[in-house]
């Protein structure tokens, strides 16, 4: 985590509102100013206006199955404790003692009915309630304990076993926040009543890229695959990169969410149905759990990546668990955790269907890990190409020239992509690729959140 932010102060004459105003006018043209990728003022405003306001993903219910289980997680840069209390309810608590701010929880996981501060010994229940302190009758006879509970997220909700919280007392419900994205998430996660759960804790690694770049890339960047990940096709562990964009659909959902579908049948033949899941997995699916249109999407145009605003994305693709073995389909939910201006930690969970036997789960894990992990043969190249934007943002020259990055792909006059007016699902469907409607929509929503409280 960066503590010294002096390198990231805006240049002379640059003010937050000016950058945002320029972003607004540039976005109209499909452009994004470099300034927003490594600027301390932008970063601080993101923490306040986006991460302290949005519904932020925290983990999976199955990571804290028992009463007393807890996780240490993040909302933006804030450390929070996600607990399951004695009644089985889930709480999201600020991870510091109300007395003097000492961190209460130093581990990633654990099981405790209460948290005792190691400094002076204030004690809090795992629902956040203040329940005591040493020498209470001599020291705090008059203390109104309810004023000294841990800070508790006002809204905590789960959907498909995924825990989200919002720190905004006026937040909409999670379902209203997700809107049409919830429909696509059901298509991904609700093909079987047993659902999905992570196979272990997240793989975590520091990337010197901006969190927005991860969100925007997984929101619908099919265009980078053939170049950034070209090696994977060259060594014959994946195919179809050259035609990928001709078979893609960008589903753009209000609220900054997006999904990138692909016509697997056209790309990979009739076995491409439903993400190329092999018959021994597909036989368990009950597509009737989904409405007819969603069934159609899952069969013919399943999304392989997507982003839930602000910093949660998923990936579902296939590859061999080891070269030469038949392909397995893998699913990863991943979070772009902002750690400082132009820096993030990538957290990635790999999921299994709960009906899977041990071998099926292990194959899926191995295939996913080989592709997308701190050592993944796809992912390692992303971690390097994403280092560029923050470095450009720190460039005096780039800022002096009022440089913007290009997100015009697929706009009118640029290419073959058009809005599909026959689309009856949520949001908009733009087809075919290549195009960047998801990226433009992501930054437009980002701007709307940044500007709303800032003017």
């Amino acid at each position: 985590m960066i503590t010294d932010t002096t390198h990231f102060r805006p240049g002379i004459g640059e003010r937050l509102d000016e950058i945002l105003a320029r972003t607004r006018s540039e976005l109209e043209k499909g452009l994004v100013p470099v300034n927003i990728f490594a600027n301390a003022d932008i970063f601080d405003a993101e923490m306040e206006r986006i991460f302290a306001k949005s519904w932020v993903f925290l983990g999976f219910e199955s990571e804290i199955p028992e009463k007393g289980d807890f996780l240490q997680r993040r909302i933006g840069r804030d450390s929070v404790i996600v607990t399951r209390d004695g009644k089985g309810e889930i709480h999201v608590l600020a991870n510091f003692c109300r007395h003097r701010g000492t961190k209460l929880c130093q581990t990633d996981v654990g099981n405790q009915s209460h948290f005792r501060c190691p400094y002076h010994g204030w004690v809090f229940k795992n629902n956040g309630d203040w329940i005591g302190a040493p020498d209470k009758s001599k020291a705090y006879k008059g203390l109104d304990s309810k004023d000294w509970n841990l800070l508790k997220a006002p809204h905590v909700e789960s959907f498909l076993g995924m825990i989200f919280a919002s720190l905004d007392p006026d937040a909409p419900t999670l379902m209203d926040y997700l809107g049409g994205a919830a429909w696509f998430m059901k298509g991904l996660m609700d093909l079987h009543p047993g659902g999905m759960s992570p196979m272990g804790p997240p793989d975590r690694y520091k990337v010197r890229g901006d969190w927005k770049t991860g969100s925007e890339n997984f929101g619908g960047d099919g265009y980078h695959v053939g170049v950034a990940h070209g090696s994977v096709q060259t060594i014959e562990l994946a195919q179809g990169f050259d035609v990928l964009n001709n078979f893609s659909t960008h589903y753009v959902i209000p609220g900054g969410h997006s999904f990138l579908g692909h016509d697997f049948d056209s790309m990979f033949g009739p076995d491409g149905h439903v993400w190329y899941y092999p018959p021994d997995i597909q036989q368990h699916f009950d597509l009737n759990r989904l409405d007819p249109l969603l069934q159609d999407v899952v069969k013919k145009n399943p999304p392989i990546v997507g982003t839930i605003f602000p910093n949660l994305s998923f990936l579902r693709f296939f590859g061999p668990p080891s070269p030469g073995k038949p392909p397995a389909v893998y699913t990863s939910w991943r979070q772009w955790q902002p750690s400082g201006p132009g820096e993030m930690e990538l957290w990635s969970w790999q999921l299994k269907w709960n009906f899977m036997d041990e071998q099926q789960a292990a194959d899926s894990y191995a295939a996913g890990q080989f592709g997308f992990s701190s050592a993944g043969i796809f992912e390692q190249d992303d971690t390097v190409v994403w280092e560029g934007a923050p470095e450009a943002a720190r460039s005096v020259w780039a800022r002096k020239e009022q440089t913007s990055f290009n997100m015009q792909m697929g706009m009118e006059g640029m290419g073959q992509q058009v809005l599909d007016h026959s689309w009856e699902g949520p949001g908009e469907a733009w087809r075919p690729g290549p195009g960047e409607p998801s990226q433009r929509a992501f930054y437009k929503h980002w701007l709307s959140q940044m500007a709303e409280m800032g003017e």
Binding site: G200, V207, G230, Q369, V384
Partner: protein, 169 residues
Amino acid sequence: MNKISADVEFAIRQFLGLEAMLLDNGRLEEWVGLLDEAILYEIPLRISARKREDEFPRGAFRMHEDMAMIRKRLERMGTAENWAEDPASRTVRTVGSIFVEADEGEGIFRVHSALSLYRQRAIDRAYEWIPARRIDLIRFGDNGECRLVRRTVILAETILQTPNLAIFL
């Protein structure tokens, strides 16, 4: 447990030194030649937990690779599209605290070592340091040559500070 002979210990120390030299000099094909065909190269995920035995959740890895996967990685490194290592990192690894713990039978020895790996990528910028312990199974063959049968890398970090593991540890 049989006593570890000086010959075995010397051969293992030489083997680990040779391996480190080959890896730092990018002589990966020769390094793969030091691996047993049944190699398992694994890096378990580590978390912060109160009890040491809870730091390594079962079945969770950053890498868990057989020979076919390792060979594929080398093939990938040989393409012109290996952006994570373009150019290859400059690494200097120190392998120390070598401890030949046990004779596991059939000429296989359990060997502990500490790895301190300096990695500098691309241009002269912030360097990266990857500290780890390794638990190896090394076969000491009848011909006096060693082969790596299994490597378990125990990273000191729970959140990896280098952006990728595009290098072997």
